[in-house]
Amino acid sequence: MKRFDYVRANDVGEAVAALAASPAARIIAGGTNLVDLMKYDVETPERVIDINRLPLNTIEATESGGLKIGALVSNADLAYDSRIAERYPLLSSALLAGASPQLRNLATTGGNLLQRTRCYYFYDTGTPCNKREPGSGCPAIEGVNRIHAILGTSDQCIATHPSDMCVAMAALDAKVHVIGPGGERTIAFEDFHRLPGDMPEKDTNLQPGDLITAVELPAEDFTAHHSYLKLRDRQSYAFALVSVAAALKIEDGRITQARLALGGVAHKPWRDTEAEAMLKNSTPGVASFSAAAAKVLETARGYGENSFKIDLARRAIVRTLKQAADGTPQSQTDKRIR
């Protein structure tokens, strides 16, 4: 681990000022990803700014009836918060599908948004990686890529975003609150994470000096029809090969509103609004679900080891929509897929 300076910010203003003074500094909250990356010399910040004392650890009602989740609310507190569990069970479920209880106790909402890919080559400083060292090449494209992306890839990078939480937040149309040198602003969840394109080193559209302060959930009710399904190589403590977040509103046997997002398949949580539009006004069933799945995967591309993910994602989308429509969301406790 490289030597680094450590500063602790006591309020948001101090944190923003500290970031402005050294834009290359890294924010540390739970540290569950950053510290690992520093140990591997993947992240080598000269300065680390500790924001754990900032008052960003509450969940508050918004005027429009939604909830505003402070950036420092832990994944565990968020998953088990009664308002989240009752009104946004899709988010609770996605959180509980991720990591382990110990990690969820430490990991924060803001940090979860900023966790970095689990691409083997990104972690291995003995190999090239365009995300870690722009221009050095992407060995995953023709190499070990079983866990890699099938949607929105570029010839520079086929890494995935590993979060479960973010997949649910994308489906729930969340907004990210940010404060930066120019003041406060919000970023639609859709616009928060990026596709790799020719700048895979950039995971998000945050600007230098930006600090995430909260994630806001709009006041929408998908409690009757939702599910988060995560497929992985073991039953816990593994990243998704494919995950699907589905949320529906169904009236009189027709879908009146649909949300569909995938994890484990792209450089960002992959929400497909065209597929959602296809589902809207359709009758819930294998036919409409399969059509939506086909739409989502229209542009999917496999790279060898990960080609099975295309078929797996298709099946998972159909299954998750069925779970949502049936009102039988995937349990993250017994993990049995129905």
């Binding site: 003995g126 099975f308 993990k335």
Partner: protein, 757 residues
């Protein structure tokens, strides 16, 4: 409590008060409170830290290291490279016997596998040493890596495992296949696997002149002393190794590794005690692994399902510079009766670290393929898999023709099947669903592991207060040796376990042999037993020859030792306490030394193996292919059980390794660079609690009058065997799809044509 029938030693000793009891681990409290001191917990005064720099390439030469940059880093004391590494008395590339493995200890600039040590940085702090190692920024001449079972020229190795012939043939396999009414040929592939004990290899080494003090985990204290003595040209008695606890070994700590030797060299170089602990990713290279295999089974059966031929061929890999070839085909030597059995191996040399013994080396891999092929043949014959195995039950060891010293495998089949409910299994696959619509499959496999014994010594003493002392340099890897061996020791002295001080885990005690080959309890236990018998015999001589002892003249009738007293065998109203016997003789203590070794005559006459039967239930999602092992029942017979709690724990752990083998473990190599891409516990998957809903082990009673006087066979490895095959067979039974490429992942089922919505 039954009395042990002694076939080798004088019958002074009566066992039973301690052996057979389900005692909890005597070191359990130390471990759960964190008080147990593992090697890396030691911090001798003035100790400094060493960190390895390891190669990022698989093959080539190191052309440059920025030693100046590392040395300039604050806290760095020195940097050890091939240029300045202190001399060794022995060539680390020498191989004087098959148990001697070549080491990479900076003898030159060659790189022969990824993660090979290429320098050691010694510093005041771990952080400084680690950063110093990173600052070395090595440059290389890179040569193409040879990767995968087709990655190099194929040849027949001289030996497989340690010193076993690569090919073995009994009867005419081709004729048997030609005459068969049904034939099955199947090829199974298993990946490279890494031991991954929780405790990484670690060493704290301190020199005092030419005397060397070491804390390091080892499964073989005496062998480690011998290796270090040879390498450094010092006398074995000047080396003291402490290894009271190992955080898992699994074969990966069987012999001293290069990094451990580098820790000793670093201490010599800086003249201060040095601690060196491997990072997790550094364990994927210099400390061994299980080699990958590609196994082809060819079976033939007659119309009644009796095997006419069994051929088992294995392709495996060793390193380019040393030999350990996973002896997978040899798993077919002992289990199933066939008039013709042929086993063979060939190998390739790859740019990897040298493979090593890993829990059930050969048996784990070989049994997976054998049990899979057997299941395929049972299917071809339209027979229940258990009936098919019973049909081909080996009454004598098929390849040697020897009778078994004992074999309660039929009872294992029966008890396991009963407990599991096997009789309700439909013959055809894809017949069962659970209430939520998941496909349910049942599969089974036979478990087997040889009953090995090595050589050991022990010392026993009885003190004037009547308490006992037993010593042997045994190793507790977590398997419970501290407890089970103390139980044998206590019975050997006719004392309650609380009355016996049991010493183990350091090299200044008598050589207990290695904790490996599932032979530690038998080997060290028999040495303790022998020492106990001898010290009791001396005590009996004192008593029976003393005119004022109640046992005077009982020499012919014999005495029995129990509860700290000797009893006249034919009249137990006459007895005397140990303390009284020693007091009369005016002795502060009485001692004796014992030893153990396999009896070659008995070994020649009998085939000796533990056996078991494992039954697995899996549930598979009919569209998504997600597999879960929902139930495992294993029934094992392994001779005398010293401590049923420890034995059950060994079986359960072994069976969980089987789950891991079937569904999870896989070292993933980049075929261009030769690097292992998932060298960490986040991505090198082993089961978590959620993957093991129900696992159960049945201890089947078995009395073996031949294997050794205690009747112990060994339980450390057998649980892995049988289990992986049972799970693979259950996946087939659930889905109708045979996945022969391990680990079985959901893509294997999708590719196999798993149904759709």
């Amino acid at each position: 409590m039954s009395e042990i029938s002694l076939t080798q030693n004088p019958a002074h000793v009566r066992h039973g008060s301690n052996v057979g009891q389900p005692l909890t681990r005597r070191d359990g409290l130390l471990k759960v409170t964190g008080a147990a001191r593992y090697a890396a917990d030691n911090h001798p005064e003035s100790m400094v830290y060493a960190a390895l720099a390891v190669s990022s390439i698989a093959r080539g030469r190191v052309t440059a290291l920025d030693v100046a940059a590392a040395k300039a880093h604050p806290g760095v004391i020195d940097v050890m490279t091939p240029e300045n590494r202190p001399p060794l008395a022995e060539d680390p590339d020498a191989k004087n016997h098959p148990f001697m493995f070549r080491l990479d200890v900076l003898q030159n600039d060659r790189v022969r596998y990824p993660n090979q040590p290429i320098a050691v940085v010694i510093a005041d702090t771990l952080e400084a040493a680690t950063e110093g190692a990173a600052l070395l920024a090595p440059r290389y001449d890179v040569e193409p890596a040879r990767v995968g079972l087709d990655g190099n020229e194929v040849f027949t190795p001289q030996g497989v495992g340690v010193g076993n012939p690569p090919n073995d043939s009994h009867g005419d396999v081709e004729a048997g296949l030609a005459a068969a009414s049904r034939r099955v040929e199947a090829t199974y592939e298993t990946p490279a696997q890494y031991h991954n004990p929780m405790e990484p290899h670690a060493i704290v080494a301190a020199w005092d002149g030419d005397r060397l003090s070491i804390d390091t985990p080892t499964q073989g204290l005496a062998m480690a002393v011998g290796r270090v003595a040879g390498l450094f040209g010092i006398a074995p008695e000047d080396i003291h190794i402490r290894s009271p606890f190992l955080g898992g070994g699994f074969g990966g700590k069987g012999v001293m590794s290069g990094p451990q030797v580098l820790g000793i060299l670093a201490a010599r170089m800086v003249g201060r005690p040095v601690k060196l602990v491997l990072r997790r990713e550094q364990m994927y290279g210099p400390v061994g692994h299980r080699g990958p295999t590609r196994q082809t089974l060819r079976l033939g059966t007659a119309g009644d399902g009796a095997l006419t031929a069994l051929a088992h061929h294995t392709r495996t890999a060793s390193s380019t510079f040393d030999d350990f070839f996973e002896p997978a085909s040899n798993a077919s030597h002992t289990l199933y009766a066939s008039p013709a059995i042929a086993t063979s191996h060939d190998g390739v040399r790859l740019d990897t670290g040298t493979p090593m013994f890993m829990r059930a080396p050969g048996e784990a891999t070989g049994s997976l393929a054998l049990e899979g092929a057997l299941d395929e043949m049972a299917e071809a014959c339209g027979m229940d898999p258990l009936d098919f195995r019973l049909k081909n039950y080996a009454e004598v060891e098929p390849t040697s023709g020897k009778p078994f010293s004992s074999k309660a495998l039929r009872e294992c089949y029966a008890q396991g099947a009963e407990r599991f409910g096997w009789a309700a299994r439909p013959l055809q696959p894809r017949q069962m669903r659970d209430a939520s619509g998941l496909l349910v499959g049942w599969g089974m496999g036979t478990a087997t592991f040889p009953a090995l014994m090595f050589q050991a010594e022990a010392r026993a003493a009885i003190k004037s207060d009547g308490t006992g002392l037993m010593e042997t340099g045994a190793q507790d890897m977590g398997q419970g040796a501290w407890t089970a061996l103390a139980q044998i020791a206590a019975d050997g002295l006719g004392l309650d376990i609380d009355q016996v001080e049991f010493r183990a885990g350091t090299s200044d005690l008598p050589d207990a042999g290695i904790a490996g080959g599932s032979g530690h309890t038998a080997t060290a236990g028999m040495a303790l037993h022998d020492a106990g018998a001898k010290v009791i015999a001396r005590l009996a001589d004192l008593a029976t020859s003393a005119e004022n002892s109640p046992l005077f003249g009982a020499g012919n009738a014999g005495v029995v030792a129990r509860d700290g007293r000797l009893f006249r065998r034919d009249d137990e109203s006459r007895s005397e306490s140990y303390a009284d016997i020693l007091a009369r003789a005016g002795l502060p203590e009485i001692e004796a030394r014992g030893k153990s070794a396999a009896d070659p005559a008995v070994r020649n006459a009998y085939a000796m193996h533990a056996h078991g039967a494992v039954f697995a239930e899996v549930k598979v999602h009919p569209e998504l292919g997600q597999i879960r092992v929902t139930r495992l029942v294993g029934a094992f017979a392994a001779g005398r059980v010293i401590n049923p709690r420890m034995v059950e724990s060994q079986y359960l752990g072994g069976m969980i390794w089987g789950v891991s083998f079937a569904l999870h473990e896989h070292a993933i190599t980049d075929r261009r660079s030769g690097r292992i891409m998932n060298a960490n516990l986040a991505e090198y998957h082993v089961p978590v609690n959620a993957d093991i809903p129900s696992v159960e082990a049945i201890l089947v009673e078995e009395h073996d009058p031949h294997v050794n006087a205690l009747g112990i066979k060994g339980v450390g490895e057998i649980g892995v065997t049988g289990t992986a095959g049972a799970i693979a067979n259950a996946v087939w039974h659930a889905t109708g799809i045979r996945v022969r490429h391990l680990p079985i992942g959901l893509e294997g089922l999708l590719a196999g044509g798993l149904g759709d919505a």
